[in-house]
């Protein structure tokens, strides 16, 4: 049990284990993405009201779900690195931020493309949309803070503090915007209305959500490997690795 934790602190071990996870996770993810996309975009019924435009749900919802989950992965990794001083948790936290920002951006863009034909507008200051926008700012804040520090160890600690503060903020913002607009705007536009989704549409959606989780994990592991090699560029194992790669 404990030796596992000790191994977690070792960059070459983590580099290797990330590589062997990627070897089977990456193909599975790509297959799931391909199957989910083809299933969702080509083989489901058009929606009764929205016709074919609803099909963007197969990108929009998975991106939004994983973007939110990714923030908590980042914050938990940050907490682990602050509390137990695990450097490898730093690496994981740093790897999450750009992926999360990209997914949040995808969710916002697809949402606004979806909004145009269904709501007749690109943008509404609805609770969910606003909180996703703020989530994007939080991710970008972490990225910007990391880049601003020259000392990367301090940068990771500072980002860990910032992402932990953000976990307090996300629920507050979500609820506050909700209450704020309950004054002005009747709840006419809701992402999660009473329209229960049909099973034939739900299964490809669930598959896409799983595939996006896989995609997030793959990107995170790839990012972590790159970061590990960069941080440990002067050590023997990286030199050996680079030598092996060059010989091949």
């Amino acid at each position: 049990m404990w030796s596992f934790f000790h191994k977690l602190g070792s960059p070459p071990w983590l580099f290797g284990i990330a590589g062997s996870i990627l070897r089977w996770l990456l193909p599975i993810t790509l297959v799931a993405l391909a199957v989910g996309l083809v299933w969702g975009l080509l083989f489901t019924h058009p929606d009764f009201r929205q016709g074919n435009s609803y099909r963007i749900i197969y990108i929009h919802v998975p991106a939004a779900v994983v973007a939110l989950a990714g923030y908590y992965v980042m914050a938990i990794a940050g907490a682990v690195s602050l509390i137990w001083k695990m450097k490898m948790a730093d690496v994981a936290m740093k790897a999450c931020a750009p992926i999360g920002a990209a997914l949040t951006f995808i969710a916002l863009v697809t949402g606004s493309i979806w909004g145009k034909p269904t709501w007749g507008t690109w943008w509404v200051w609805d609770a969910r949309i606003t909180s996703m926008l703020i989530l994007l700012f939080l991710y970008l804040g972490v990225v910007a803070l990391y880049e601003a520090y020259d000392n990367k160890e301090a940068a990771s600690k500072a980002c860990a503090v910032l992402s932990l503060v953000g976990t307090v903020n996300i629920p507050i913002i979500y609820k506050s915007v909700d209450w704020w607009y309950s004054l002005h705007q009747p709840a006419s536009i809701k992402f999660t209305g009473e329209s229960t989704i049909d099973a034939s549409m739900l299964y490809p959606l669930l598959l896409m959500i799983v595939a996006f989780y896989g995609l997030f994990t793959c990107c995170m592991l790839l990012n972590m490997r790159a970061e590990l090699v960069e941080r440990e560029a002067r050590t023997n194992w990286v030199r050996k690795l680079a030598g092996a790669g060059a010989r091949r």
């Binding site: 602050l82 703020i134 700012f137 939080l138 970008l140 804040g141 910007a144 803070l145 601003a148 520090y149 020259d150 000392n151 301090a154 600690k157 500072a158 503090v161 910032l162 932990l164 503060v165 953000g166 307090v168 903020n169 507050i172 913002i173 506050s176 915007v177 209450w179 704020w180 004054l183």
Partner: protein, 232 residues
């Protein structure tokens, strides 16, 4: 051991810190006046940009006043720890036996007394200038008193994380503006409710709850941020 016994207790240490910060500020009155001047000038921008029609200004007044309060708190929070970081007294503070949590609270309290409190006290003047209906002025002042304290505490987190960076100025706004948004939402909602004749107390109560949360948690983040910045 005897030296440790002579070290001042936490309470008197924090009071001394607070007094020191206030005296430093009082020696440079223009630093105290700048945020107020900023407030006045930005207030003057809005009638020029939106047109001087009183009813239109009155509609926007709660939001305008709150946004200016946010911005002036943002601009001043960058400087909370900077001079002490540069002359090294911050390092001494981190080494001091007194808990950093409390001394950080003293710094933030001084910042709030110099910016937030004064801003809240002069806000009725600016509120009248941009035609905020009179029945809402009490709520505005109360909301600003609570809200600017939250802003000072949250701004302190950004200041602590960026104090060691040479180019922290723009970064701090990116870091802490998302955290200012809940305060803006509830602060301006309180004033809008007061204008419309609805009770504003629930919104003020939520601002007070946020203040409690911020007092409890923000000093932890600020202390962690200062340790990181000094070590870096």
């Amino acid at each position: 051991m005897s030296r440790q016994r002579r070290a001042p207790g936490t309470g008197s240490f924090c009071l001394t810190l607070l007094r020191r910060q206030l005296i430093l500020a009082a020696r440079r009155p223009i630093e105290i006046g700048n945020p107020l001047l900023f407030f006045a000038m930005v207030v003057a921008l809005f009638p020029l940009g939106l047109g001087p029609a009183p009813d239109k200004l009155a509609d926007f007044a709660p939001g305008i006043l709150w946004i200016i309060a946010l911005l002036s708190s943002l601009l001043t929070s960058d400087t909370v720890f900077r001079s002490d970081f540069e002359d090294g007294s911050l390092e001494q503070l981190l080494l001091a036996p007194q808990p950093l949590y409390m001394s950080v609270l003293a710094y933030i309290a001084a910042h709030w007394l110099i910016t937030g409190l004064l801003l809240a006290l002069v806000s009725p003047l600016f509120a009248l200038m941009i035609k905020l209906p009179e029945q809402a002025i009490g709520v505005l002042v109360g909301g600003l008193l609570l809200g600017t304290a939250v802003l000072s505490l949250v701004g302190g987190i950004g200041a602590a994380l960026t104090v060691g960076l040479k180019r922290g100025g723009m970064l701090i706004s990116l870091l802490i503006l998302p955290f200012y948004m809940p305060v803006l939402i509830f602060g301006s909602a309180a004033v809008q409710n007061a204008i419309a004749g609805y009770p504003a107390a629930p919104y003020l109560a939520i601002l007070g709850a946020m203040l409690c949360l911020a007092i409890a948690l923000a000093p932890l983040a600020i202390a962690a941020g200062l340790r990181i910045s000094v070590d870096a």
